[in-house]
């Protein structure tokens, strides 16, 4: 096992053959997997895909191609041809995923949630007016107004929600806008740079290292071109391209370059054979967007909550409609009661509040580099119980970095942190001097010019990953590498190739006294060793004996075992007499020695984990979130990284580890002993879903290695079968199905392809796993805070509802009007309920298990009961006391109010007697009634302040939480009071609003009840803290 690994790893630089082999194997499987995953869902799509894959351009000769596309590889297309083709096929760009038409989105907001109830209320109002009108043409327009107000409320909240959503979509839109891509094309026998969008089939394009391939192209001539197909296939190794037809499948053959993949090095000329949506990427992207978005956990919770509230509203409404009718009320009056009950029961402002709360969190998350596309995904992240994370780029820094060195029979550790700041290994040895020279000289990578001010680690480099790592490593330690190279003039070079598996160059040295040429070589360690006869120790050449060879192997094995890519370095000073200064080196004839060299050292590289990741993984673990690594990389590397970031914790072992420790066969190990598992794609392929389930439940630490992106989908489905909320990270096009399938798909902002970003619900702007953890924290907090917001909002519903019930049964003058209720729901209560979103967590939310999506509901029985039947009821009592106080002090004692309703509301009774024998006209009573509304309103408002304060915590005492820590709460309280003051004293004269001035003392009547509410809730919390798990805890904790 180890041996094999070493081979694969050491040959990276030249290992086209191996890669090719695995590639072919994986490739087929990959595409099969890709098709499979869509098969059950979208049959016609699958056929389309297959049809498209029946592309045969790669088999045709250049002549045939020219004929087929009517082009010429020397002169290119003519402008007229281009115009025609462009008109026919459209621009070369992916159609953005089909958006729901704006009007549909808007209408959805209009009928979603409680809106439908309010529409019913509005329509009932108009019906009531219709009935009144048919009986009496001069009936008052009150009901029409109320209906209009209700409709207006629905429309306004709808517009608001729509606006909020549109705003968050806009963030995405700006994000998606990228710098337009350019393409170098031959048209009318001229080379032109045009925007890639204008490419048409038949265009001849030139591609250089670093370019993104602008369309699907058939390569016509190629010079050392390698492409990165990772966004298409998930394969991270660079793929060599050539102009020859090598495979029947268009996806496997080397003479086709795919749209949106990157050309890493070399140059190529190609003919465009497919553009826009007809490209392979376009096909896959459109498939992924075909997988419909389904409901987020929070959407389900809100729906659940809407059902509860609507259920309560409708059942109470109908119950009291029946009671009203049986109490001999007119049907018309009963309908009006029904409207009142609906309006009282529906928290009109709540859904808007939830939207605002979510978007506030989304904003907060965006600041922490989590860009949320779908507002509701904010919470999904909080309920996540499994994260399937990519390795490259997410857990790691996505750049090869020198991790270890071996020379002088010693392994040295290099600094792999993000900035490489302190390289502390011993640099005094003569061997290091030689080794550093080889590293510097035997390297073709170069910094792109004009980056002097950029920190070394951030500079852009032309060259492959390993050489880049070496270049940066030497630049950090030695200083200006380019200058060193200039001083050591290169006279000959053999670049890397797959047969040699080494890279060699010959330099003049910068020592003026030394006329010898220096031959430096690097490559696969065992190959390098073969070519050596001596080894340098402490700067002295020594013969390479068995012991040193053994030491070499031990070091090689050890570094390979860490999952690192190992390179060997050797050199030789060519004797000046044989190779004088004028000697011409011929790299083809190899007129210089390539054996009996002097071995200098080994250097191993790894893509190191990001420094923040181990901490983040620990946090996830304590938060009860399982982190599964899914990577296309080799198991050894994957395991090494998993261990270093803590995905596999320090003391847990895999079955293989146990076998190795106990020196027994893998089969003999009791599988239950192992906590961790490393599963390869090959093993996964042979697993039945049941076996996968078993794997996922039995092991707490799992690494999937060598998996194709399609297997990711299988893994995600497996996790979802465990009832887990799964977050998946991904960047490639092929990840997009898994991103869609996941409960929350997280795309990488830097490395991610557009298709992945489109499929994802969230984008990590810094590609950093640690950002996910912050996201989880925010998501959990928002869930808790939404609970508080909803509890706060629901409470007053009872205080708004009771007046109607009492009015119907006891016949008091109506204590609170429908319009007044709307002013509470959409006026005084809005800012406070948003303020709860700013509440800090009560305890460490990252120390508890993720919520169970079926059991831990947003609105549970306890929350509803506590809000409705405890606090709500107390509020109702308090508000009624204010109401009775106002009436009694104006002359109507409570006893006379009972059953006064019919006379009270009869506009023809203008001498109704009060408790003091005074007689009231209808309008005088009406005005008193409005005063009652205002008093009741103020009563509720005052107690809602107490409600707001108690809702800050669910378990802790307010004093533990800190009364003044959340300043926004106080803004909310101030807003409540100010709005109420404006309504009463400012708008008191506007009769339509039915507010009146209120004597100052009435504002304080409900204060004792507010204090009572606070005390009661403190007592509740105290008992919950004192007796966890008790009867009290179960019934009172929401």
């Amino acid at each position: 096992m180890t041996k094999k690994t070493l081979e694969i790893y050491s040959v990276e630089l030249s290992g086209t053959k191996d890669i090719q082999q695995t590639d072919e194997r994986n490739g087929k499987e990959k595409y099969r997997g890709l098709k499979n995953c869509f098969e059950p869902r979208k049959n016609h799509h699958k056929e389309e895909l297959r049809k498209e894959l029946d592309l045969d351009d790669h088999k045709l000769s250049i002549k045939e191609l020219e004929k087929k596309y009517g082009t010429n590889i020397i002169t290119g297309l003519s402008s007229t041809q281009v115009a025609e083709l462009l008109a026919r096929n459209g621009p070369n760009a992916l159609t953005p995923p089909k958006e729901t038409p704006e009007i549909i989105k808007f209408l959805k907001q209009m009928v979603g949630g409680f809106s439908i109830l309010l529409w019913i209320g509005a329509i009932l109002c108009w019906i009531a007016y219709g009935i009144q009108y048919s009986m009496n043409t001069s009936s008052s327009l009150d009901n029409v107004y109320l209906g209009c107000v209700l409709a207006l409320v629905v429309i306004l909240t709808g517009i608001f929600a729509y606006y909020q959503e549109a705003k968050s979509t806009n963030i995405m839109a700006t994000f998606n806008k990228m710098i337009p891509q350019q393409a170098l094309v031959i048209r009318d026998s001229e080379k032109k740079t045009i925007p890639a969008e204008q490419l048409v089939v038949g265009d001849i394009v030139e591609i250089r290292g670093g370019d993104r391939i602008p369309a699907d192209v058939r390569l016509l001539s190629v010079q050392g071109c390698k492409v990165d197909n990772s966004s298409l296939t998930g394969e991270s190794e660079p793929q060599p391209r050539s102009s020859e037809f090598t495979h029947d499948s268009p996806l496997e053959t080397k003479n086709i370059g795919f749209y949106s993949t990157t050309c890493l090095e070399g140059t190529a000329t190609g003919m465009v054979i497919n553009t826009g949506d007809r490209t392979i990427i376009g096909q896959i992207a459109s498939l992924a967007s075909g997988v419909g978005n389904e409901k987020t956990p929070i959407a389900i919770e809100i729906q659940h909550f809407v059902h509860i509230v609507a259920g309560v509203a409708v059942s109470i409404g109908i119950l009291f409609f029946i009671i009203a009718v049986s109490l001999k009320y007119q049907v018309l009056d009963s309908i009006i009661f029904l409207i009142g009950i609906i309006v009282a029961n529906v928290p009109e402002g709540l859904l808007a509040t939830v939207t605002v709360t979510l978007s506030l969190t989304a904003k907060r998350m965006a600041k922490k580099n989590c860009l949320v596309k779908n507002l509701e995904a904010v919470e999904t992240l909080g309920s996540t119980s499994i994260i399937c994370s990519d390795k490259t780029g997410t857990l790691t820094q996505n750049r090869m970095t020198v991790a270890h060195l071996w020379f002088d029979n010693q392994i040295f550790i290099a600094d792999t942190s993000e900035d490489h700041s302190n390289q502390v290994f011993d640099q005094s040895s003569g061997t290091w001097a030689s080794l550093s020279k080889i590293i510097t000289l035997c390297n073709r990578a170069e910094f792109s010019p004009g980056q002097e001010s950029v920190p070394i680690m951030k500079r852009v480099v032309v060259g492959d990953a390993s050489e880049t790592a070496l270049l940066k490593f030497s630049e950090v330690i030695l200083g200006d590498v380019m200058e060193i190279r200039k001083r050591n003039h290169k006279v000959a070079e053999i670049p890397f190739n797959s047969t040699n598996k080494f890279q060699l160059s010959i330099h003049k040295t910068d020592d003026p006294n030394d006329q010898r040429f220096l031959l430096v070589m690097k490559g696969a360690p065992e190959r390098i060793l073969e070519k050596c006869s001596t080894i340098m120790v402490n700067g002295q050449e020594q013969p390479l004996d068995k012991n040193t060879a053994k030491a070499f192997h031990t070091a090689y094995m050890e570094l390979g075992g860490l999952g690192e890519r190992v390179l060997g370095f050797c050199h030789l000073y060519l004797p000046a007499d044989e190779f004088p200064e004028t000697y011409t080196f011929d790299v083809d004839a190899m007129n210089f020695p390539t054996s009996n060299l002097c071995f200098v050292g080994l250097l191993s590289m790894i893509d190191p984990p990001r420094s923040t990741v181990p901490d983040a993984v620990t946090k996830c673990r304590s938060a009860g979130i399982k982190v599964i690594m899914v990577t296309g990389d080799h198991p050894i590397t994957a395991k090494a990284i998993a261990k270093s970031v803590g995905i596999i914790s320090a003391n847990s072992e895999t079955v293989e580890d146990i076998a190795k420790r106990l020196h027994i066969a893998v089969e003999q190990v009791n599988k239950r002993d192992a906590k961790a598992a490393v599963v390869t794609g090959m093993e996964l392929k042979d697993m039945s879903p049941e076996q996968l389930d078993e794997l996922l439940t039995n092991y707490s630490e799992i690494v999937f290695a060598r998996t194709s992106p399609q297997q990711k989908l299988i893994i995600v489905e497996g996790c979802q079968r465990q009832n887990a909320v799964v977050a998946v990270t991904g960047d490639g096009v092929n990840d997009s199905p898994a991103l869609k399938k996941a409960d929350i798909g997280i795309a990488m902002g830097i490395a991610g392809s557009d298709a992945a970003k489109n499929a994802a619900d969230m984008i990590l702007l810094d590609d950093n796993f640690a950002s996910i953890v912050t996201g989880v924290e925010e998501g959990r907090l928002i869930f808790d805070n939404l609970k508080k917001t909803i509890a706060y909002t629901l409470t007053k519903n009872i205080a708004e509802l009771c007046p109607f019930l009492i009015y119907i049964i006891v016949g008091l003058p109506l204590p609170i009007g429908t319009i007044t209720i709307l002013f509470i729901d959409l006026g005084t209560d809005i800012i406070p309920s948003i303020a709860l979103a700013y509440e800090k967590a009560e305890s460490d939310i990252m120390n508890r298990k993720p919520r169970h999506k079926k059991k831990d509901r947003l609105v549970n029985q306890q929350l509803a009961i506590y809000s409705y039947l405890h606090i709500g009821l107390m509020q109702a009592v308090g508000a009624f006391v204010v109401y009775f106080t106002v009436y009694a002090q104006e002359g109507f004692k409570p006893s006379i109010l009972i059953n006064i309703r019919v006379e009270w509301e009869d506009s023809n009774v203008n001498d109704l007697e009060d408790s003091y024998g005074q007689q009231w006209t209808w309008y005088q009573r009406k005005y008193l009634e409005w005063m009652g509304y205002t008093a009741f309103f103020v009563g509720i408002m005052v107690q809602q302040i107490a409600d707001l304060i108690i809702r800050k915590t669910r378990r802790n005492s307010i004093f533990q939480q800190g009364l003044f820590r959340n300043k926004v709460i106080w803004v909310g309280i101030a807003s409540q009071i100010i709005i109420a003051l404006i309504l009463s004293y400012g708008l008191g004269s506007v009769t339509a609003l039915s507010f009146t001035m209120l004597r100052p003392q009435y504002w304080f009547v409900a204060v004792p009840f507010a204090i009572l509410i606070w005390v009661y809730d403190e007592v509740r919390k105290l008992f919950i803290r004192l007796y966890p798990g008790s009867w009290w805890d179960k019934n009172m904790y929401y």
Binding site: T137, S138, N293, E294, K295, T296, P297, I300, N374, A377, T380, V716, Q720, V725, V726, K741, A742, D743, I744, G745, K853, Q861, L869, H870, L873, M874, V877, F880, V881, F884, A888, Q889, E890, G891, K893, P894, N908, N910, D911, E913, D914, S915, Y916, G917, Q918, Q919, W920, T921, W922, Y923, Q924, R925, Y927, L928, M931, T991, R999, L1012, W1031, N1035
Partner: protein, 290 residues
Amino acid sequence: MAALQEKKSCSQRMEEFQRYCWNPDTGQMLGRTLSRWVWISLYYVGFYVVMTGIFALCIYTLMCTLDPYTPDYQDQLKSPGVTLRPDVYGEKGLDISYNVSDNRTWVDLVHTLHNFLAGYSPASQEDSINCTSEKYFFQESFQAPNHTKFSCKFTADMLQNCSGLTDPNFGFAEGKPCFIIKMNRIVNFLPSNGTAPRADCALLDPHEDARPLQVEYYPPNGTFSLHYFPYYGKKAQPHYSNPLVAAKLLNVPRNTEVLVVCKILADHVTFNNPHDPYEGKVEFKLNIRQ
């Protein structure tokens, strides 16, 4: 985003619901065992008893703070309302219409007046005293029996021709109907600064050719004598009855609908509140056919 909600069949849902209603394994009904239900009910009973107690206490305290004779505030009662008898309401406000020659059309109106004036018979006024001062009848102390204050008598005969005693038809039969105007009671309300308030009836928006309305008022001049004021409230003056003014309209045009307004003219009575048509005045439609 994946489907989090599994579709359940209807029968599954029913089964789940049944299990919720009665779970034989745990003995739970509606999610709680019987003893749990008892406990939770006891808690709620206790809670609500306490809440009711607190509410009762609040109301009791409120009642204790109230003055039994005078309301604390009279924000809405700045100016008294005015009502009219007979009171027949149409679609909008008072609407009196009858046919002189058809006594069935006015017998109800007359009946209403008789009923109304029954409260002003000498028998029902016997607990009140005779007043003649024509000045405000201020009473600082409770000198009347049962710790009350005196009320002044107002008997129907003071309305003379409109008392129903001389003309039991109140003039309806000859097309010169009597209307009784009553001012609402307001505790401690003083209508004017010395001159007695009086009623004044006129046609509203009279046609240009129409003659001014001739009205005979009873008591003479249509005054409400000042000794009926101030009113000290139901508890202090249990026998108080509102003074009345009857207006006999002498020349109502026949077969047309006229709008009559009767205002109370006094210093402290306003009749220009746009919202309240009954404050300080009363309007009614009148249509006498022949």
